[in-house]
């Protein structure tokens, strides 16, 4: 509840034009910010279930034409774990301010990912994902996308599939050009992110 109060306070300050230092450059319309705060709090409260509610989206905030919000410089996840006794590596990165996808971003984000099992790739792909699949909150990012259904998505290895990733930082991502450590929950296809041994980072611009 304390977090919800903090979100509401930030939204209130946004309406009054008194933004916290790190949020001053996030010129989001007041009502929209309030919605963002509520949804962010809901996402946090719901935890890993949040990604199952794609209709709840604040993705428009990421690149709305009438605003100058922070954008995702980079959010990535790296996992090394065991899967059925074999070494499993999961890697995933989302970028909005650099284009590693060899295709126009069209106001979307570039997603790249890989799943490597015992040094053999089982799922590798990259492509531009529509903004509606990305939910940005003050303290995290939620990505929900089925890459097998994204037009133009390049499945280098495998045929793609559902990717859900929920980055959460312990404090609001208030500054740009600084790396924030995060936790991550979700998975790539059948391969889930474990509860430990996860490297997750967010950098905004």
């Amino acid at each position: 509840m304390a977090l919800l109060k903090r979100m509401s306070l930030i939204a209130h300050r946004m309406r009054l034009g008194r933004l916290p230092d790190g949020v001053r450059n996030v010129r989001v319309l007041g009502p929209l910010a309030l919605a963002l705060a509520i949804i962010a709090a809901a996402a946090i409260l719901l935890g890993p279930m949040a990604h199952q509610r794609p209709s709840v989206s604040v993705g428009a905030n990421v690149g709305a034409a009438n605003a100058a919000p922070m954008r995702i410089a980079r959010a990535d996840v790296h996992v090394e774990t065991l899967y059925n006794g074999e070494d499993l590596e999961l890697n995933m990165a989302v970028t909005q301010t650099q284009n590693d996808c060899q295709a126009p971003l069209n106001n979307g984000v570039c997603l790249r990912y890989s799943v490597v099992l015992d040094e053999q790739p089982v799922m590798v792909g990259y492509g531009v994902v529509p903004l509606k699949n990305v939910h940005v909150t003050p303290s995290g990012i939620v990505l929900t996308v089925d890459t097998s259904k994204v037009p133009g998505f390049v499945n280098v290895v495998g045929s793609g599939g559902l990717i859900v990733m929920n980055w959460k930082t312990s404090s609001a991502v208030a500054k740009t050009n600084i790396a924030y450590s995060a936790t991550a929950q979700g998975g790539i296809g059948r391969y889930s992110v474990p509860s430990n041994g996860v490297i997750a980072t967010i950098v905004m611009r």
Partner: protein, 596 residues
């Protein structure tokens, strides 16, 4: 330290370094046994074999292409050409000429000593700048096509299928050899030799014969010009690309002479290099790149000392000795090639393992069984970085990379005293005029990599305390990559620190491939003035990985060739060359850049 102060210190350091070199050159007698360098060796090696004419094409101005041979065949740079392009020879500041594909070429007037009717050798380095399925001539002597063939004498070119081709003309008959198996690259210099010995014509590419045919009769003679970059006197078939080190002999060079030239050219210290004894068989498909050679380029004024130190680096090195592909230490054509990359580590001041130096978990036993008999033979000059596999515990390793720190001892973490587990793993040292920084990208093991973390704070202090003219940093996980790892944002703040301190070069491993990027800031922004060049060299021997598209600002990539990156550290510049180990693909990448 404020940025302008850093710049001032760097400028002062650069001036002092240059002064030291000049003073040292004047005051110190020549060393009795100087380390031979390719810069001196290649030209002298060519000249020792007695070419009629030899054009180094390293002019920085003017229109004359000097003939360094005995033939007195100076040429003229004509049309659209660029002088001072990065040359083909490793550790050689002599530059090359580039042509624009429509008007640029070098013309050499006809001379009877260029009419080679019998034994002869044409030798040159060429790098296409465009592969557009049209004929491009790199060298030809003759008049024009209107003479029904008799107007032409000899030619080397790229054919319409983008393959190298060598031809001599006898009457109206053309004897031609095409290497239909080659894969030309716009980012690689190829060494071309067309030699006629009696009735045998042989075409060599990169030191290997790609075909021989029988010829009959004297090669044509004409009054037409010799040209580099177009079809002799025929105003057609222009080359888009570079040409370097052209030599013409009235004798047939032997195979050993040709291979010696190639070895000298591609070896940093001029010494022997593991030259493939057969045609290399790539184990995968090289990733093509349409990106031109980087904008970093040697400065004509850069100070280069022939005794400048050379270092070699690669990561992702030694297989577990119990790995089936280890094959008794010899590896296979696809994996476990640490033995062959280790043989490349000669004549260097330092060896830089870039992490994941021992698979699968970097236990002390694994290090002793596999790394030690190969790369470990250079342990005394090794400055290692730690990787994720050194921290793995799934195969019995001690937590905290105990195997790694025990094996390398104080060299792995000199900031700790007698540390054998959970050590910092980050440190710095100097080689020549360069400051080298080793970082631990297993961030969670050392309290993070973000701004304010112990490692990041140490880095800032170290950079402030060492305002060297040239700075190289290396660690395991790349920040920018096209490989499967997709890059690691944990490194962002460290990259920003290095960029703010005007660091020059970053080396990484982790992705099992080779990749080089344009100079960049911390947000994938190309910055040719202050950006950092990143080179991934995850090619030490273990396995090859693949690519996941092409990351922004990636210049060149390869996932077929094991080898090491050789760096020559000059006072204010550096040369790089990726050297294949001779037991996998034949990919190479080389160039030079100035420090900032």
């Amino acid at each position: 330290m404020a940025h302008h102060q850093v710049v001032r210190w760097r400028a002062l350091a650069a001036i002092m370094a240059i002064s030291v070199v000049i003073v040292a050159s004047a005051a110190v007698p020549a060393r009795a046994t100087p380390v031979a360098k390719a810069s001196a060796n290649y030209a002298s090696t060519v000249l020792a074999d007695g070419p009629v004419s030899y054009w180094r094409l390293g002019e920085q101005s003017g229109t004359t292409a000097l003939d360094s041979g005995t033939g007195a065949n100076n040429g003229t740079f004509t049309g659209g050409y660029t002088l001072g392009a990065a040359g083909a020879i490793v550790s050689d500041t002599n530059t090359a000429v580039g042509f624009n594909g429509s008007t640029g070429y070098v013309s050499v007037p006809d001379n009877t000593n260029l009419d080679l009717t019998g034994d002869m050798t044409l030798e040159m380095w060429a790098k296409p700048g465009l592969l557009n399925a049209t004929t491009q001539t790199v060298l030809q002597k003759g008049t024009s096509a209107s003479s029904a063939g008799t107007g032409w004498q000899y030619r080397m070119s790229i054919n319409s299928a983008n393959h190298w081709k060598g031809i001599i003309f006898v009457g109206t008959t053309s004897y031609e050899i095409i290497d239909n198996t080659d894969t030309l690259s716009t980012s690689r210099w190829d060494y071309l030799v067309l030699a006629r010995s009696g009735s045998t014509l042989t075409f060599y590419i990169n030191g290997h014969s790609v075909g021989s045919i029988a010829v009959s009769g004297a090669t044509n003679t004409t009054t037409g010009m010799l040209a580099f970059g177009r079809a002799g006197g025929y105003s057609n078939y222009y080359l888009t690309g570079g040409v370097d080190e052209v030599a013409i002999y009235s004798t047939a060079l032997t195979v050993s002479q040709i291979q010696n030239h190639f070895t000298v050219a591609t070896t940093m210290d001029g010494g022997p290099t593991p030259t493939p004894t057969g045609t290399p068989t790539p184990t995968g498909t090289p990733t093509p790149t349409g990106t031109p050679t980087p904008t970093v380029s040697p400065s004509p004024t850069a100070t280069v000392n022939p005794n400048d130190p050379i270092i070699m680096a690669a990561g992702d090195i030694a297989c577990d000795a119990n790995d089936k592909a280890n094959n008794g230490g010899n590896g296979t054509s696809a994996e476990c090639q640490e033995k062959w990359t280790a043989l490349q580590l000669t004549g260097v001041s330092a060896v830089l393992p870039l992490g994941d130096n021992q698979y699968n978990c970097g236990t002390l036993t694994q290090f002793q069984q596999s790394y030690d008999p190969t790369w470990g033979q250079q342990k005394a000059i090794t400055r290692p970085a730690v990787g994720n596999h050194e921290y793995k515990t799934t195969c019995g390793n001690q937590a905290g990379a105990g195997g790694y720190y025990r094996y390398f001892g104080a060299a792995a973490s000199p900031l700790d005293t007698n540390c054998i587990v959970n050590c910092k793993g980050y440190y710095s040292y100097d080689i020549g005029a360069w400051h080298l920084i080793v970082l631990n990208s297993e961030c969670s093991q050392v309290g993070g990599c973000q701004a304010g973390s112990p490692q990041e704070q140490w880095l800032q202090s170290d950079l402030a305390a060492h305002p060297a003219a040239c700075t190289l940093a290396y660690w395991h996980r790349p920040y920018y990559t096209s490989g499967w790892s997709v890059g690691d944002a944990e490194i962002h703040d460290i990259w920003a620190d290095l960029y703010n301190a005007n660091a020059d070069l970053v080396l990484n491993g982790h992705d099992h491939d080779y990749e080089r990027f344009l100079p960049q800031g911390a947000n994938a922004n190309v910055d040719n003035a202050r950006g950092i060049v990143e080179i991934i060299v995850g090619t030490g021997g273990d396995t090859h990985g693949g690519f996941n598209g092409t990351a922004a600002n990636s210049v060149i990539r390869d996932g077929t060739t094991y080898g090491v990156l050789a760096l020559t550290l000059h006072a204010s510049s550096y040369n790089w060359q990726f050297q294949p180990n001779g037991h996998s693909g034949a990919f190479t990448d080389s160039g030079a850049a100035t420090c900032h």
